[in-house]
């Protein structure tokens, strides 16, 4: 039984079709990673699934009263706003001190409740954002490049944390990532996106698919080569003037 179903959805910005005919399903307990070059519509897809963006075609079905936790790519907090980590966790739904303390400990941020949000490092902020999302007891957790700005060690421990969340809560996890080798290890299913779904399946299936190789370059055996991919490939040329990340 699927939690979220996208049924042939299309999204346009200023006349540019950013997403074309995308269909997918999210089922409980799976880790799905959306992969694709810059401007391929990854963030757009996530925001559409969250209901933030209006669709120009297709439809999205969500299970009734579905609880979604969202960890945005980044959060710029204006320095004029004083707000502690503890206070932030109670937005928009107030949580008890016990729940806040427990969840902060779980994401490795025990004792940081009184810190100002603007004083956190990139990695700490990601963990607080994750804690806030977890406090809503999500059935689906959506993360937009959650490890951006983290070093490799931080990245690895963050993915371990995600893995634990899935194990402990049974939540489905949908994330966007650039880090191909980590993704391949941590995901049940990979969706390759470039305006449309190029290919999808288990990491093993996807990594041998010709569409994936076209998207991420020929040297898919070596992890390093994956970073040097060409952005335009054999599909119809998509102009993406705006990066809606």
């Amino acid at each position: 039984m699927s939690l979220i179903t996208a049924d042939h959805i299309c999204v346009r910005f200023d006349g540019n079709e950013v997403l074309h005919d995308v269909s997918l399903q999210i089922v409980p307990g799976e880790i799905v990673t959306i992969l694709g070059p810059n401007g391929s519509g990854k963030s757009t897809l996530l925001r559409a699934l969250l209901g933030i963006l209006p669709l120009t075609g297709g439809r999205i079905l969500r299970q009734a009263d579905l609880r979604i936790g969202y960890v945005p790519q980044r959060l710029m907090i204006d320095r004029t706003m004083p707000i502690t980590v503890r206070r932030f966790l109670s937005l928009p739904v107030r949580v008890t001190d016990a729940a806040a303390t427990e969840t902060l400990a779980r994401v490795g941020m025990a004792g940081h409740g009184a810190d100002q949000m603007t004083s956190l490092s990139g990695g700490q902020l990601q963990r607080v954002l994750l804690a806030r999302a977890l406090l809503g007891k999500p059935q689906v957790l959506m993360l937009d490049e959650p490890t951006q700005g983290l070093d490799q060690l931080g990245e690895a421990s963050f993915y371990r944390l995600i893995e634990e969340v899935r194990r402990d809560t049974g939540a489905a996890i949908v994330m966007i990532s650039h880090d191909l080798h980590v993704v391949m290890a941590a995901s049940d299913r990979v969706i390759c996106l470039n305006g449309h779904i190029c290919c999808e399946g288990t990491p093993r299936v996807v990594s041998t698919a010709p569409e994936y190789r076209a998207l991420f370059g020929p040297g898919t055996q070596g992890a390093l080569a994956l970073y040097r991919h060409e952005h335009d490939h054999g599909h119809d040329h998509h102009e993406h003037d705006h990066d809606h990340a």
């Binding site: 209901g51 969202y70 706003m81 707000i83 937005l91 928009p92 100002q116």
Partner: protein, 273 residues
Amino acid sequence: MTTGMTTTSMTMTMLDDFLVRAGLAAVGLSLATGPLGAFVVWRRMAYFGDATAHAAVLGVALALATDLPIGLGTLVVALAMAVTVAGLSARGWAMDTTLGVLAHSALAFGLVAVSFIPNVRTDLSAYLFGDILAVTRTDLALVWLGGLGVVALLVWRWQALLTATLSEDLAHAAGLRPDRERLVLVLALAVVVAVALKVVGALLIAAMLIIPAATARGMARTPETMALGAVALGAVAGLGGLALSLWQDTPTGPSIIVVAAVLFALSTLRARA
């Protein structure tokens, strides 16, 4: 019952004193400008406040020309301006320039329109700089009604407003409607402009919103303490400005802002020390 009667009549007598009315008006206004001012600072809406406040002068002209109550005319025009600006910003116009054009045009049109109305020229400074010492019982009732109304609205929407201010995406993902929360602030701003006109005047309403909130920023660790601090500082500035105005016979609106600005300067000195 007799003691009750006595208390009531004592209150009534107190309200006969123009100074008591002025002081109460200043405090009533700061109840609303404190929390609203915090949002104006957080969301960088300073110019937005200016545009709405300046439009109030046009509202005065309209009210005088049509024999409507000044408060109503101000409210309607301020609301129209605030909704226009909010609509333009949602469409992604170059806000700095657009707001600059709107804020100053509204003021200029208002001043020209008022000049057509006989017997108002002399009172004009009252609308520009406030005339808190001339606050009537009706004015006072409107200030408190508007002030408490704005406080009630902000308290009701507080969690949603804060979330939407931090991140519209987070608000959306939580099932909130950021555009609706924006409208709440727009409405609150128009009400504050309408009730603040008599107290600090159209030119300085935005200052009354921004300066106490900016002062409270340095002392606060949470949004709530900043908003409450802004209420307290606004009230101190209001009463202090009133005293300054009586003592030195200075215009009250500017006097209130002078006190607020001095408090701000002192708070930055303290932060550096």
